[in-house]
């Protein structure tokens, strides 16, 4: 570990990984919530055209990509808003046109090369410069602060656009903002993760968070933790294994997802073995006994005094304190 940190490019790469690992899930969760998980992927395609323009004109590719991506973000949301038939086609033209234009321009640019292109698409450790890092840090700070301040609005608009609109929230502006944040995150990713893989880091940690958390907030915190850990871990692994960093990070994020899914399933299977009979009580729960009920797999639990009780033959089963949400249908009644 010491030898890694003594290398300047590795210090830069690790910091860049940390920034993108935290930003990507934070923005991605709202995309998942809106059912637009793959929009980040399209943004990555478009960003390549910006990179190409930067290389061709010898300006910072980070800045040119940022401009292109912000324009694309506004265009995407306006197209969605207008709901024009053919909006889908327009998106396809934008995404694939951006990718194709990027590849062609980079091939023709004085400083462009095949390795260069591969680095932008799949991530490369050695490419993070000091000045890149400063730009990434500023952009990541913008993303983090914006999401922190506006998280309730982003949540409300993504969760129920109609209600948010009816209640006076600026829905279109919020959606454009989210698209711009997505674009900015794509730009931050372009060194260590790569433009074709960033979308995975927006989505996979959130998929893991859904297994580990119990609320939107809880799942999101897990996702950010998983995102930063896999991102940094992937960079370290990629250094020792000499593999492209972005692809390594994504494989690691998938491994963590699978591990979390198995772990949670195993824990639930173990809990299932335990059968807890509730302390005897005289009261007989029924459909309209007045206690709140909650669906629990194929039966209902009755809630009272901080307990969840379910009928089991001649007695009542304890199905956990009423703040746990074990909605897993495999959880009940394994005891005979």
């Amino acid at each position: 570990m010491i030898d890694i940190l003594s290398l300047e490019f590795m210090r830069n790469a690790l910091l860049a990984a940390l920034l993108v690992g935290a930003s990507a899930p934070l923005v991605g969760v709202f995309l998942v919530q809106r059912g637009m998980s793959l929009i980040g992927d399209g943004m990555g395609h478009v960003a390549l055209a910006g990179v190409g323009i930067g290389l061709l004109t010898s300006t910072s590719p980070v800045l040119t990509a940022l401009v292109v991506v912000v324009l694309a973000a506004v265009a995407i949301e306006l197209l969605r808003h207008l709901g024009r038939t053919g909006g889908d086609l327009a998106l396809a033209v934008m995404f694939y046109g951006g990718l194709a234009a990027g590849v062609v321009i980079i091939a023709k640019a004085p400083t462009g090369s095949a390795t260069n292109l591969q680095g932008y698409l799949f991530g490369a450790l050695t490419t993070v410069t000091r000045s890149d890092l400063v730009q990434f840090a500023v952009l990541a700070a913008v993303v983090l602060v914006t999401v922190l301040v506006l998280r309730d609005r982003l949540f409300a608009v993504a969760q129920d656009e109609e209600y948010a609109h009816a209640s006076g929230l600026p829905v279109l502006a919020t959606n454009i903002l989210l698209a711009v944040l997505t674009g900015v995150t794509v730009v931050i990713s372009m060194r260590v993760i790569g433009l074709l893989l960033i979308s995975a880091l927006m989505i996979l940690p959130n998929a893991t968070g859904q297994y580990l958390g119990r609320s939107f907030r809880g799942s999101l915190l897990w996702a950010v933790l998983v995102g930063t850990l896999t991102s940094v871990g992937g960079v370290v692994t990629s250094f020792y294994a000499d593999t492209p960093s972005g692809a390594t990070i994504v494989l690691m994020a998938i491994a963590v997802f699978v591990a979390a899914a198995c772990l949670v399933t195993a824990v639930r299977a173990l809990t299932r073995r335990r059968h807890l009979a509730a302390e005897a009580h005289e009261h007989v729960h029924w459909e309209e006994c007045g206690h709140d009920v909650v669906l629990h797999g194929d039966h209902v639990d009755f809630l009272h005094d901080g307990h969840r009780h379910a009928r089991h033959g001649d007695h009542w089963d304890e199905h956990g304190p009423d703040h746990t949400d074990h909605e897993d249908p495999t959880l009940e009644r394994s005891h005979r």
Binding site: L150, D152, Q159, Y163, A166, L169, S215, L295, D325
Partner: protein, 267 residues
Amino acid sequence: MQLSTTPPVIQLSGAAFGYGDRTVVSGLDLTVHRGEVVAVLGPNGAGKSTLVKGLLGLAERHDGSSRILGHEAGSAEARAGIGYVPQRHTLASAVRATAAEIVTMGRTVRTPWWAPWRSRSAADRSLVEESLAVVGLGDLASHDVATLSGGQQRRVLIARALASEPEVFLMDEPTAGVDRGHQQVLVAVMRRLVERGATLVIVTHELDALAEIVTRAVVVRGGGISFDGAPEQLSPGDDAHAHHDDEDDSPPTSVPTTILTTKGGPR
């Protein structure tokens, strides 16, 4: 009465609402004053939800005028005074959200643009808690809404509207799927809201459940308002489930009997 000094809560004159180039309801004249509880009745597809969406500025206005609390429907000022309970079947989305997080949206929509983080204040949080408790969901506040039953999800949506402390509630079938016990709880809640000065517009197919608070019935049918008056004067012919109009989805007069006699069915 001071009715002359305050504008009517809802004022429709000659209003028509629809989507795109299709007008669903037209010729609407309706004036609702503070403290009224209006039940909107009518068969499926008659345009009840469209009427409500028109008042919210969600459906397009094709004609006439429509004002809420003295402001153009759909304007920011009008929207700031409305609590909307949509006609929705499920609250589930691709990510987890607890009942409390959903109800917090009712506070989020009331935050000023210059301080959007305000919906986390202690006062806001206790309003959210109180709203959930009032609809009988206090125990389920931290549950994932996707795991709640249909009736419980409807109550979450009602709590969300309550949390936004509106002057006028526009509720689209708020009691659909809610059990009788909790319907009574909701009626009690609505009565208290009216006592505190709120105005309620409730789309419903179950007038009986709300009979004790409803002061006025409006029947939407055949592309307009076909009845407007005291609920007692509602004749069976005006009732929500009576017949006709090609546009409306009226119950069929005869039921094909094949599926009912197929073997394997109950004998």
